[in-house]
């Protein structure tokens, strides 16, 4: 839920109209209510747009100020253990004015200061201003489900749920970071903490940040780390997984308004819907996307599940990529990503938002349970028999795993050489020595190959691409997506299990399969996994990509025209798709509508 923003300005007073303008760039994230707070010394402004679920009364309006006026919070997300935390705080004498999880943050910060985030269970990004200590405290959830950007100049610090709010500040410097443009093409996202802009960053997941509001001195710290081990007992694993997932779903369904579910017809979303049924949740409204004229379209499978569970299924059939939609999407994805499923995710969010305010969705299951093809040992490519044998005997080195992972992630590889060909001479600064260097940060020495890849998936593919995709596509429609598989206790448990206790190369996501057996038709868990992307032909329409030839990337001397001509001649649709996304992003965020 919600959009948060704010800024500190040491050069001049925080201006309420500017703050309101900043806030209202995030209206899509929270259309239900809005508020701003400006400190007495007028150095600090916090803003909030609200999408309300719990305590729909005015008591939940933010920024929320503590009774003594010392703490002010602007919060985006859901704290699933807020009742337990509230009880603990009440035992310590704290008095609550509302039923919200937001108020728990206010008192929690007073009680625990920077220890607060590690006690929280849920998805969140928040800012708390301590008016006595003159400290602004920012924190982001463990997996990066909710976004949090910040930027600074010598006299200003700004933060927000989306970059557009930061760049609404007329005095905020805006300079493109060339290296990030190259990394975007390589990875389909700009690796955290960087963004496309100089001096503007993403707060990494599981981190907090403290800013002294009188000096802009910054301190940043990780508060949680996923530990890879094999210490958990395997004999009760299945039962514990089922219990933890069910409990997580129960917590995620807590709301004062009805919650639906995304149902792709795959195993993960089907498992959630089965559990919803078992929890006797009513009404059961599920949302699915299909692709007309495509035999493999999953909406038919979604229908099988919905029929079996006697649920209402709302389906939308897509038939082509709309240029206009990609342009609109790049407004929401102001920190751009080039995942191809942004289109169907945006579309399914659209239909869901007509009916409900929030849905549960299956993100995180593939990463945690080993559901991706690239996690399977058999998927590894070796350049020679020697390397294959060496890896069998000695295991795979991180370098080998990284090489494999880069190939798996690429979808039209832009390595150093390819980037060198794509960019003009003036833009060769965009080509870094290793555009995939951020993977190195997630090396887990001593872990199995499977766990190493899962660890990479959790920290890069999921956190940077999947969760960003879901947050922006859903928030564009003022819809909240909740992800019960990303209960951190469940993920911690899975990462503490021996591989073979939850992973079988020949049985897709064995533990989830067990949950489904007997509740949905067998074809749901016996068929091959399919991504939520639609047919490749959607992305192979060369006519759409022809616009690159008259686009701004070429006009502005970023990408070589000859390079695009070659890609078009070769019908290299994946690389063209990435350039197409970049072109649309560039049009809005660099050109600012100039090309219209």
């Amino acid at each position: 839920m919600c959009g948060i923003a704010g800024y500190i300005d040491l050069a001049k007073n925080v201006d309420s109209t500017t703050l309101i303008g900043m806030r209202d760039t995030l209206t899509h994230r929270g259309p239900d209510a809005a508020g701003v707070y400006i400190s007495d010394d007028r150095n600090v402004g916090l803003a909030h747009r609200r999408l309300s679920f719990i305590d729909l009364s005015d008591a939940g309006i933010q920024p929320m100020v503590s009774a003594n006026g010392r703490y002010i919070v602007s919060f985006n997300g859901e704290i699933y253990n807020f009742k337990q935390l509230r009880e603990a705080l009440e035992r310590d004498g704290y008095v609550f004015q509302s039923q919200t999880d937001t108020e728990v943050l206010l008192h929690g910060y007073d009680a625990w200061k920077e220890q607060l985030p590690k006690y929280l269970k849920g998805m969140f990004a928040f800012a708390i201003y301590d008016d006595s200590e003159k400290i602004l405290f920012l924190a982001r959830d463990r997996f990066g489900i909710k976004p949090l950007f910040y930027g600074h100049s010598s006299t200003c610090f700004a933060f927000a749920s989306e970059l557009k709010a930061i760049f609404s500040l007329p005095f905020f410097p805006k300079k493109i970071k060339k290296e990030s443009v190259g990394k975007f093409l390589a990875n389909r996202y700009v690796p955290t903490p960087n963004t496309m802009w100089e001096n503007v960053y993403k707060l990494p997941p599981a981190h907090w940040m403290k800013i002294k509001t009188d000096t802009l001195q910054i301190e940043e710290k990780r508060y949680w780390q996923l530990v890879v081990s094999a210490k958990n007992e395997r004999k009760d694993a299945a039962e514990i997984i089922s219990q933890k997932l069910t409990k997580s779903l129960e917590e995620h369904l807590l709301s004062d308004v009805p919650i639906g579910a995304f149902l792709s017809g795959g195993m993960d979303s089907s498992a959630l819907t089965v559990l919803m049924k078992q929890l006797a949740y009513e009404p059961l409204d599920f949302f699915s996307i299909g692709f007309s004229g495509w035999n493999e379209s999953e909406h038919e499978y979604a229908k099988l599940v919905a029929d079996k569970l006697h649920a209402n299924l709302h389906t939308l059939l897509l038939d082509k990529i709309s240029i206009e939609t990609v342009e609109t999407l790049m407004y929401y994805y102001d920190d751009p990503i080039a995942d191809i499923s942004i289109l169907p995710t945006y579309a399914v969010s659209g239909i869901a938002s007509k009916k409900v305010k929030a849905v549960v969705s299956g993100e995180g299951a593939d990463e945690s349970f080993g559901g991706y093809w690239w996690q399977k040992p058999a998927s590894f490519y070796f350049s020679s028999a020697f390397h294959r044998i060496k890896s069998r005997v000695f295991g795979k080195s991180f370098a080998e795993i990284k090489k494999h992972y880069i190939q798996a992630m690429s979808m039209g590889l832009f390595d150093k050489e390819e980037l060198g060909r794509a960019f003009t001479a003036d833009w060769q600064d965009a080509v870094s020595d290793d555009p995939f260097a951020h993977f190195d940060r997630f090396e887990q020495k001593g872990s199995s190959t499977l766990k190493q890849i899962q660890f990479l998936d959790i920290h890069t593919f999921m956190s940077e691409l999947i969760l960003t995709k879901v947050d922006r596509a859903s928030m564009a429609h003022s819809l909240e997506v909740r992800v019960p598989f990303l209960d951190h206790e469940l993920v911690e448990f899975l990462f503490g299990l021996p591989d073979d206790s939850y992973f079988d190369e020949h049985i897709q996501k064995r533990e989830i399969r067990k949950l489904l057996q007997g509740h949905v038709p067998a074809i749901i868990y016996e068929r091959k996994k399919q991504g939520f992307v639609g047919p490749d032909k959607f992305y192979m329409d060369m006519e759409v990509y022809n616009m690159l030839l008259v686009g701004n990337l070429i006009k502005d001397g970023v990408i070589r025209k000859e390079y695009v001509v070659d890609l078009l001649a070769e019908k290299d649709h994946w690389r063209l798709w990435k350039l197409f996304v970049l072109e649309n992003w560039w049009k809005i965020w660099v050109k600012g509508g100039e090309s219209k």
């Binding site: 500017t18 209202d24 259309p31 557009k164 609404s168 007329p170 305010k357 965020w589 600012g592 219209k596």
Partner: protein, 397 residues
């Protein structure tokens, strides 16, 4: 369970008309285009006490505008004040009266809403728009320059003032050929070589040749199309300066006399409202079509208040677009996405680049991109049956 009020929202079209008969007649012409294409309500907001003729429509919201405003100001007052005049809880599309619905998917515009508000881009940029928004001297000075130069041009090229359609088309075609050649250095070179090596008659294309002795461009049948003019001489006689490298005449301000662009609007916004415009040639928004809802209240209230402030300021012309720019920049929405041209295709009679495709199914102002508009915005010459674009739009009815 809380009340989820997401399905009760209505989509509603809104027109504003106030005062002059011309505007009311324009509305009466436009309304049937919309009625034919939508089941959504169409509301007209007006001040009936000011209207020279009654507005004929079923859903009229009659609002008394303060007497201190003239009719032009009153209609702007109503338009920028719609958020206070209309019921809450709906999504609205505001439309100028000179907009016609000519597509088959008009209602899809409601799906284009992106909060807090959404407009379309204008057909020119801010610098070009500037002298039409504020009372700087750029426009009258340049108009006077142009009148002087045009009179001299007509002496040298008697065909320059022609209104004969066939001849105008020929002249435009010739100009397009010139532009194409200029855009390509190789073509410039090869054309120059051909020109200097040819005899008295230089064949530019199959359709046009240049008669060197008579100094006239002719059609293939020998009809004069355009006389060669001596721009240097014209500039000198007019008291202006000729820039050979650009083949252009500049005024005393050093700017081309054919372009009225200036920075005065950006300066006026900064001086009057203390709002800096980061990009002085920003692609500003057009006020002809916009989508708004309850979420637009802050934006519209500021727009309304700034607009009222300029009504009595002699530096400003009575328009709402300059204050629209000020509002956008004040609220940091300069990157907010604009509606595609489909939803507000501005057909400006004065634009030389505006033309229909051969099949007359689409229109363009930039030969690269033909548009199938849902809404066409007729700038000037509304109802001019000599104008092919008007006839095309009218036939869509």
């Amino acid at each position: 369970m809380g009340n989820l009020n997401r399905t009760s929202m209505q989509n509603i079209y809104v027109f504003v008309v106030c005062g002059g008969l011309e505007h009311i007649n324009t509305l009466h012409y436009s309304l049937p285009f919309f009625k034919k294409r939508t089941q959504n309500p169409i509301w007209v907001v007006s001040d009936s006490t000011r209207n020279e003729s009654p507005v004929v429509h079923s859903d009229i919201i009659d609002v008394k505008v303060p007497a201190e405003y003239d009719n032009h100001q009153a209609s702007i007052w109503l338009k920028t004040n719609l958020h206070n005049l209309l019921p809450k809880g709906n999504r609205y599309v505001y439309l100028d009266t000179d907009i016609l619905a000519i597509g088959s998917q008009s209602d899809a515009i409601f799906e284009q809403y992106i909060p807090p508000i959404r407009f379309a881009a204008d057909h020119c940029k801010m610098k070009q728009f500037s002298p039409y928004a504020v009372n700087c001297m750029c426009l009258p000075t340049h108009t006077a320059y142009r009148e002087r130069v045009n009179a001299l041009l007509e002496q040298q090229d008697p065909l320059s003032g022609t209104e004969e359609i066939f001849l105008l088309e020929k002249r435009n075609e010739l100009q397009r050929i010139f532009a194409t050649i200029k855009s390509n250095k190789l073509m410039v070179l090869s054309t120059a070589i051909r020109f200097f090596t040819s005899g008295n008659r230089f064949m530019l294309t199959k359709e046009f040749y240049f008669d060197k002795s008579a100094k006239v461009w002719c059609g293939s049948d020998g009809t004069p199309v355009m006389y060669q003019v001596d721009m240097r001489k014209i500039a000198k006689v007019a008291g202006l300066k000729y820039i050979p490298i650009k083949n252009d005449i500049v005024g005393k301000d050093g700017k081309s006399i054919w372009v009225d662009s200036c920075n005065h609007l950006a300066q006026c916004i900064e001086n009057k409202f203390q709002i800096p415009i980061g990009n002085k040639n920003w692609q500003h928004w057009n006020g002809g079509v916009f989508l708004f809802s309850d979420e637009s209240h802050v934006f519209m209230q500021m727009w309304h208040e700034l607009t009222i402030e300029i009504f009595k300021d002699p530096e400003w012309k009575t328009r709402d677009q300059g204050t629209l720019i000020a509002t956008v920049w004040k609220l940091g929405l300069q990157n907010h996405p604009v509606l595609d041209e489909t939803w507000n295709f501005i057909a400006d009679y004065g634009s030389k680049n505006l033309f229909l495709n051969e099949a007359k199914t689409a229109i363009t102002r930039d030969a690269n991109l033909f548009i199938h508009p849902e809404f066409i915005h007729i700038y000037h010459h509304f109802g001019d049956e000599k104008w092919d674009v008007w006839n095309w739009a009218k036939n869509k009815m």
